[in-house]
């Protein structure tokens, strides 16, 4: 596997040392670094100049021990080393932009891309924790046992539900990763309690006992699979086949999940007809959300202003 760096990442990383933001760098080395760097400004050809800067920055990146934690942690993941053709590291401009991604080209060649905030290089201990977490992501994506597929197989869900399912997927995958890291004696990126609290928030509609049992099974699972995670995210409320107004079920008209169902028993005939014109298959027993009722009431000149409760 080839380890590659983005120019910007290398430059920002060595400047952490040269500007004193990473402690323990001898001043004489900083002076030497700047002197060598200054010489490169005299190269007129822009490509040659960029190549020379890249080489210089890479040399100092290694000299100042910035590559060591990357290669050390990478060595803990032999599958990643074996299955990736390239692992590229690029600079991330913020926390939300950080993380590892897998790209596969038409020839089937796999490339891992790790986005990293250069400030992480100032603390090797927390850097290693972060790298382990991200390399575990890559490991799962490459491991046939996990069975990773970038397209989540979630039939029957609308766009809003798929988005929610993806959030849950991220939550559960992170739990399994940090659970495995903790079991291996490493410091997880987030402690068990923090994950448990996030899980409880995400699955608050379950009884506490079910929450605890499912969380424990995720945290302690040494070989999670994507299919297991999908089973937990697709329809955790069991609403897919509800066909009736249930809290959190999607409104049959707008498809958005709702907790505020309108009372269809008192629905004016005019509104029923308007709905039927647009949704011929709709039956009053299927219900509709307060927001849809408001829309149809507003469009009906003879209907008074809606008295809608909450939502």
């Amino acid at each position: 596997m080839q380890l590659r760096y983005d120019d910007d990442f290398l430059e920002a990383a060595v400047f952490l040392c040269a500007s004193g933001r990473r402690s323990g760098v001898p001043p004489l080395q900083i002076t030497r670094f700047h002197r060598k760097r200054e010489q490169l400004y005299s190269i007129l050809d822009p490509d040659e100049r960029n190549a020379a800067f890249f080489k210089l920055h890479l040399d100092w990146f290694r000299e100042w021990g910035l590559e060591q934690p990357l290669t050390d942690v990478l060595n803990e993941f032999p599958l990643v080393r074996e299955r990736l053709a390239v692992l590229a590291v690029r600079k991330s401009t913020g926390k939300n932009d950080e993380g590892a991604e897998l790209y596969v080209n038409e020839a089937g060649q796999r490339t891992g891309l790790l986005a990293l905030k250069t400030e992480r290089l100032t603390n090797h201990a927390t850097l290693r924790d972060f790298l382990r977490h991200e390399f575990m992501h890559l490991h799962d994506m490459l491991d046939p046992v996990f069975g990773y597929s970038p397209a989540l197989d979630l039939p029957g869900l609308n766009a809003a539900q798929i988005r929610l399912a993806r959030e849950r997927y991220r939550l559960l995958w992170d739990i399994t990763i940090d659970g495995r890291l903790a079991a291996a004696g490493h410091v997880p990126l987030q402690p068990r309690e923090q994950h448990a609290a996030a899980f409880a928030r995400g699955y608050s509609f379950w009884p506490e006992a079910r929450q605890a049992a499912t969380f424990a099974s995720l945290w302690q699972n040494p070989t999670p699979r994507q299919t297991d995670i999908l089973a937990l995210i697709a329809d955790p409320r069991g609403l897919r086949d509800a066909h009736r107004p249930a809290p959190g079920a999607p409104c049959p008209l707008c498809d958005f999940p709702t907790f505020h169902w309108a009372d269809t028993r008192t629905l004016a005939l005019e509104i029923r007809q308007r709905i039927a014109a647009e949704f011929p298959a709709w039956l009053p027993d299927q219900g509709l959300c307060n927001r849809c009722l408001e829309t149809y009431q507003a469009a009906s000149p003879s209907e008074p202003a809606p008295a809608v409760a909450g939502g």
Binding site: H34, E38, T93, K117
Partner: protein
């Protein structure tokens, strides 16, 4: 270190180089009370100077929302914090205001140059106290836009009580437009290890020699206003150049007369006024009673420097916002804030006329004249008598060319009834 005189602090201070002053100094005033944060100035600058590859995150002009916003994030809070650490409890003002040599009294604390002596980096003491912002801090120039301080907890269905009352809103924010201050004692210039930064003797504009710069980023670390920026594609630092071709009168639109910068000229709120100031040998301003900048800064004293306590003697001045917490403003603009707001809130006849010069013409106004007009009305503003006269103010370029003539009252045109709804 040399001893130089900083009139904004009312005292001598340490600076790494001997004092050297230009023939004229580029200076500007922003009236915060009128800024609506539309970012037209930002885009005028961006589309003129920083549209190229490698300049994507580079904004020489930016407008940030105070108190929370900042580009880079929290630039002022971080520097103020470093100064407080270097001189705990000692960053205060004293003395009485005096003429042009000490208009705000005397600053008793430490400037960034004085505090740097005890602020050790890996290579020893720095020339100016500062820090290098992270990439993340530069990434979002409009962070926290339109956020008030919110010191009163909200109650559903109920407005904030007293929030509409001047001078101090319970909840407040304001827009702070910023460019390089082209300081008289630039920290960027002091910190550059390559002597790549210089102050032009003809107009005091601070520039980075791109041939000499070797991308050390010491200027970025030292500038307390964080107005020098690194460009990865050229591996050099860049900064606001005060649109110097325009200031030199080389923009054809000005007919060979010196013109204000692009950001000043583009301002739709007419909050900006830029000029050139003549200096005495000690760096204080030569008396020019009818130069609009001299009048607003040294006579009316409604425009104040931004964070004068940093010690760089910035040449950017601000008319402070009336509705903002006074302790906050005193920290930002020094002890002249209360008088400035008092004066601006009920302006006298001359001040009201001079305020009309903002944004009226793109050319630089060196001198003004006022022709008295009739009284329009009189009233009371915050307990003070206020009379409005429809005076006419006339502005002249340096060579005497008349460039502006405008009245205090906006002219009213009554359209003929037959064209009532047409343009």
């Amino acid at each position: 270190m040399s001893n130089v005189f900083n009139w904004q602090l009312g005292r001598e201070m340490d600076y790494p180089y001997e004092a050297a002053f230009p023939d004229q100094q580029f200076a500007f005033i922003f009236n915060i009370n009128r800024c609506i944060g539309c970012q037209t100035c930002t885009m005028a600058c961006k589309s003129t100077w920083t549209f190229a590859k490698g300049q994507e995150y580079m904004w020489w002009n930016n407008v940030e929302t105070k108190p929370y916003g900042g580009y880079p994030h929290h630039w002022d809070v971080k520097t103020l914090d470093l100064l407080e650490q270097a001189n705990p409890g000692g960053q205060n003002w004293g003395g009485k205001p005096e003429d042009v040599k000490a208009p705000y009294g005397k600053f008793n604390g430490k400037t960034i140059f004085e505090a740097a002596k005890t602020f050790l980096g890996p290579e020893g003491a720095n020339r100016a106290l500062g820090y290098l912002p992270t990439d993340e801090e530069w990434s979002a120039p409009n962070r926290y836009e339109d956020h008030p301080v919110g010191n009163e907890k909200g109650v559903k269905g109920q407005y904030f009580k007293g929030g509409e009352l001047l001078p101090e809103h319970k909840t407040w924010f304001f827009y702070l437009a910023r460019i390089c201050n082209h300081c008289s004692y630039p920290a960027c210039l002091a910190a550059c290890p390559r002597n790549a930064i210089y102050k032009r003797p003809e107009d005091g504009i601070v520039l980075i020699d791109q041939e000499r710069c070797r991308g050390y980023r010491k200027c970025m670390e030292a500038c307390p206003y964080k107005k020098t920026l690194y460009r990865g594609t050229t591996r050099t630092s860049e900064k606001c150049i005060a649109c110097y071709p325009r200031v030199e009168g080389r923009d054809q639109a000005g007919g060979s007369l010196p013109m204000q910068t692009r950001c000043m000229a583009a301002c739709i709120g007419h909050i900006r006024l830029q000029g050139l100031i003549e200096l005495n040998k000690d760096g204080t301003w030569k008396e020019a009673r009818n130069n609009p900048l001299y009048y607003l800064i040294h006579v009316a004293k409604v425009a104040l420097p931004l964070y004068p306590q940093f010690g760089t003697e910035p040449n950017g001045y601000y008319i402070p916002p009336r509705w903002v917490s006074r302790p906050y403003l005193r920290q930002m603009f020094g002890p002249g804030v209360d008088d400035a707001i008092e004066k601006y809130s009920a302006p006298d006849r001359e001040l009201l006329a001079v305020l009309q010069l903002f944004g009226k013409d793109q050319r630089i106004c060196h001198r003004y004249e006022i022709k008295e007009g009739p009284k329009v009305f009189e009233t009371e503003v915050r307990g003070k008598k206020f009379a409005l006269y429809n005076d006419t103010i006339i502005g002249y370029a340096k060579d005497g060319t008349k460039i502006i003539e405008t009245t205090v009252e906006e002219p009213l045109h009554v359209r003929d009834a037959k064209h009532a709804n047409s343009i």
